[in-house]
Symmetry: C2
Subunit: 156 residues, 2 copies
Amino acid sequence: MNYVIDEVDKKILMYLIDNTRMPFTEIAKKMNVSAGTIHVRVKKLEEAGIIKGTTLITDYDKMGYQFVAYVGLLLTKTSKTQRVIDELYKIPNVTVVHVVSGKYNIFCKIRAKDTGDAKEVIYRIDQIDDVLRTESMISLEESFNDKNRLMHSIFQ
Amino acid sequence: MNYVIDEVDKKILMYLIDNTRMPFTEIAKKMNVSAGTIHVRVKKLEEAGIIKGTTLITDYDKMGYQFVAYVGLLLTKTSKTQRVIDELYKIPNVTVVHVVSGKYNIFCKIRAKDTGDAKEVIYRIDQIDDVLRTESMISLEESFNDKNRLMHSIFQ
DNA sequence: GGTGAAAGCACCGAGTT
DNA sequence: AACTCGGTGCTTTCACC
């Protein structure tokens, strides 16, 4: 369970975070090790659960999903948080859910096509049992820090 | 610029969102088209900017980054928002930045090793010129809705 | 815009050091 | 734990439809 990643693992992760389809042979060449080594390391990182999967970085805007908002949920005192989370996940527009400390009990991120679509999503959230009320914060502009920057810091 | 994605594109995107390393030959077989077609379609989706890249889904916990928080920034009236965003991006722990409407001017997500690490990150944010003050919301638990669920909805 | 075949590579397991 | 090597299978191109 306590897998210790070394410098070789870190470098492999750096390359694959940028491009999961970079050939192992190319990574091997850049690192002066054999392609077989890369193969074995990647398999171990997958088995250890450090690499959980691969995915595309897609442009939501270009697919018609321009609307992003964060929604804070206030629950009743007796509510089962997990049940509310399960309900949230039935709404595909809910992309991330956090249990938080502070004003809200749950805080989530939603994506929608437009304000009309978002209204429906928020209405659905409001209708979940045990949700007292919600407060939304609309994003006017979203940008991501290059994933590599955090990784550089993680990997020193 | 207005690239219209058809059913073939949608299916390819669905497969690759789950696993960017799924062989084109396998996708081709599942879809009853040739591998060459998949290749050409993927290239076009990349050129159109719909596929912006590929990346790993990694376990931040297992790499020692257990701490997640959202930070709301209140700026002075005369401040240049973009300059503050640029400053935020110099901090690798800042992963997402939003310009928002409402109580805050800017809202961002941070990842840190622990509370001590987070304290430093928030201190750095507080020190940015034009930042009047910040308010943080600590995540006690983070979970992601399967990316596929939104995509299924996007792709009907 | 799609196909199918062929050449060039990459993957990945087995055996070795 | 990493290397080499070889069989298998993937990618990518191109002439043709």
